[in-house]
Symmetry: C2
Subunit: 322 residues, 2 copies
């Protein structure tokens, strides 16, 4: 945990309870599922999605048990999508640790992901809220539909519209759900649910933009994958989009813009050029705009320490590892 993740302090014990509940999902099932869950959960991460759920739910007066259950459902759904993503992408590392697919057969990895989806759905049903169940399942369709679109899309496509659709499906949709479902199990009105959905959406968009910046600027050992890996996979993210728009004379950027897929030399040059360009700062400014919108939303809630933590969480999104 970095020092600036102070928003985690009010939910530290709750996050522990969420992790315990997640790990217990493999109990009374095949022992290798316990092993897999341990491996997946030990690779950690900041548990940012359950933190959103917990902070919002605590601020709005949801019951602790339901919040823990909901948070575990959301983080397990997220974990399940990562398991299948890493398998499909053939990723060997995530957050610097070996992925499940690097150690298990493809079949065992598919089934472990399926098992996590199933247990996430069981936990979502345990919230005993039909609207939560519905939005939860819908979010999974949105995420998977986004991945299928990305899989079938022409590689190296330069399109802002596609980019923002993709990061919504990939990331902001689940942030949105993490936030609004917490409100849905709280004693609040529809406007508050909408406001929280909006908060989740904005920080989710910012979060993915920052991830996409880190793909150019991050240290490989911290990010846990090679620098420029998106572009190497044919994914044109915001820093690359902005660079292409602003550098009409860079032949590599123009080749990409014309729909050509680049060779390794071209990619390496382009990754360095983007890293050293203003596109990084312009992208970060866009992420900061989203965070500002999230702050505007949350600051309309009554002032209290948990609201303050949600503000810190939003600000943290654009500070992490940069």
């Amino acid at each position: 945990m970095t020092t600036n993740a102070s928003f985690l302090i009010p939910v530290q014990e709750d996050i522990q309870a969420v992790e315990t509940l997640m790990r217990s999902q493999a109990d009374e099932h095949h022992p290798d599922l316990n092993t897999a869950l341990d491996l997946l959960l030990s690779s950690g991460g900041k548990r940012i999605r359950p933190s959103i759920t917990l902070l919002i739910g605590k601020m709005l007066g949801a019951s602790r048990d339901r919040l823990i259950t909901l948070s575990a459902a959301i983080e397990l759904l997220h974990t399940a999508t990562l398991v299948h993503d890493d398998l499909i992408d053939g990723s060997l590392l995530r957050r610097g640790m070996a992925t499940l697919n690097s150690q298990w057969s493809p079949g065992a990895t598919v089934l472990t992901g399926d098992f996590l989806f199933a247990r996430a759905a069981v936990l979502a049903a345990d919230t005993k809220s039909i609207p939560v169940m519905k939005i939860f399942s819908n979010t999974l369709s949105v995420i998977v539909n986004g991945e299928i679109t990305q899989l079938f899309a022409s590689r190296c496509k330069v399109s802002r519209e596609d980019y923002f659709k993709r990061i919504y499906a990939k990331t902001a949709s689940l942030f949105e759900t993490s936030a609004c479902t917490a409100a849905m199990i709280s004693p609040v009105d529809e406007n508050t649910v909408d406001a929280m959905r909006n908060y989740g959406y904005q920080i989710g968009m910012a979060f993915q933009i920052v991830d996409d910046i880190l793909d150019f600027t991050g240290d490989q050992s911290t990010v846990g994958k090679p620098v420029g890996s998106d572009l190497r996979q044919g994914l044109v993210t915001l820093p690359a989009l902005i660079y292409i728009e602003n550098q009409p004379n860079d032949p590599d950027a123009q080749a990409l813009y014309k729909g050509e897929c680049l060779n390794d030399d071209q990619i390496n040059r382009l990754v360095t050029a983007i890293h050293n360009s203003k596109a990084v700062q312009i992208s970060l400014d866009e992420a900061c705009n989203y965070v500002q919108l999230a702050l505007n939303v949350i600051r309309r809630q009554p002032n209290n320490p948990l609201r303050k933590s949600l503000e810190e969480l939003a600000e943290y999104i654009v500070q992490r590892k940069l």
Copy 2:
């Protein structure tokens, strides 16, 4: 549809509505998902699981809309598990038609299965019954846990206990859910829900035993996979178990019993020997016992034409393709 599937007559129109609802799940999503759903649904099958749900729900007074939704959820969940199963097993044919994984990349096949899980969960949430949601998600865990157990289990294991556990997880669990969830959305008491669960369990066990018999006796063109394919994959099903118990002098059977994996010649000899042995009839008798238990349960319900169809459905289980 064969002539003896007369139990389908009272639900023919409902099954059409279920198929329409299933196909509509890819609307507003990536067009290739429509293509995939068309491919998957056109390969047909008897829609036996939704027929159980529809017949029970109609008999017990559930609303038609909820029944259609629930039936589509169940059949979509079943379809999703088949998509991942065929991928994991590398099966190229199902019901004589090309599988999705024989035409699409592994990644696209994994994601299509995930999408179907998501849409099945959306439909289950649309039944607006929390107990249905819960049992639905739990059933998916049971199915997947069964597959993982099978995947990690030592091949060629000769154990009745393992066999019955496996066919429960693989098949009877979803039959049980198809039956009891129909009762759960009907105006009936807990005893009736339990009775319907029991009916579903019994015919589910019978259904899988018959499938396992057909793997030895079926015509490859009808079954859509090579004869003896279970044994070739190291799966020892009921006919093989019974044959091994009754033929202490068959060296192939004894090799299997000792935990040896057999070569092709041994498998071919053993498949023919099992096919020509009494083990087929003894297995069928076991399936008939399950069907008889299902009939006993269903005949305790008030007599009416839908109850009659459920009796026919139970009897059909042990008659199909034999």
